[in-house]
Amino acid sequence: MKTFRIIFRFYINVFLANLLVTFSCLGLLKFYGLKSHKILSALVWYKLITIALILYLCFHYKMKELYYYQNLGITKTALIIYWTVFDLSLFFLLFIPTYCYL
């Protein structure tokens, strides 16, 4: 539980950026309405690429702080996996209902 709390604290640094990307995807879905099935794969790729980009930038600017997490036994790989799983889960949790109820 403590480990999750610490990982979430790291994730909160970029939560807003990831949420904005997710909302922009939902906005595009709404905008295209019934034709949105044509851009579905593009939106998923957009989300995946931005996750990678935000991760890269975050790790670049917070490189020194990574030792804090490593000293607590949380590796860089663990941070990447938990972050990606959480963010993608949130994305699909909002994306699928939005698409279904268009």
């Binding site: 020194k64 702080e65 490593q70 000293n71 607590l72």
Partner: protein, 223 residues
Amino acid sequence: MIHSLKVESVELSFGEKKVLSDIFIKCSTHEIIGLLGRNGQGKTCLIKVILGNLRANNSFISFDETKVVNSLKYPNLIRYLPQFNFIPANLKLKTVFEDFGMDYEDFTMKFPEFEMNQTSRVGYLSGGQRRILEIYIISKSATRFALLDEPFTHLNPLQIEKIKDFLIEEKSNKGIIITDHMYQHILDISNITYLLKDGKTHLIKTELDLDRLGYINLAWYHL
């Protein structure tokens, strides 16, 4: 119980340049091992190899005779103080102590100047205070070995003396490997000191060895 950390057969090169080639370091509980070396001799690289953050061409890192590849994955074995500030500035001191499962009261008993700071954020501390906090967290937390990279940076002479006493006290619980350019402090507190030169570790007994190996020039000190 006495634990041991052995670093052997480390070979590291970047392209044609051989950085480390003949390394042997052994650290046990109750010991402080000093590691000296000029800039660019590979001290930080060696530390990263020990932690598993840098892959060497060859290395054998063992804890109690058991080979460990990525030791920083196991904070109960080893913790690392980098030469820069690593605790996120936005964290409160009490959060840091909770994360590492440590008691803030013990800290203030040792360093009373932190008494009122429990709810302060790390970023509001002075450079020296921040360094003391980091040294304390790494050295006092529950781990068998602590690797301290330039701990005396940012500290004033009084703080350095206090930290030296603290480390001597703390070695009763763990093994400590310490590297810094303030060699006199290292010689004061170390049980064994090595100098890293030309990719090899050289055992140091006195300042004369450091002079002989070109790390210091004693003639300048006696002018």
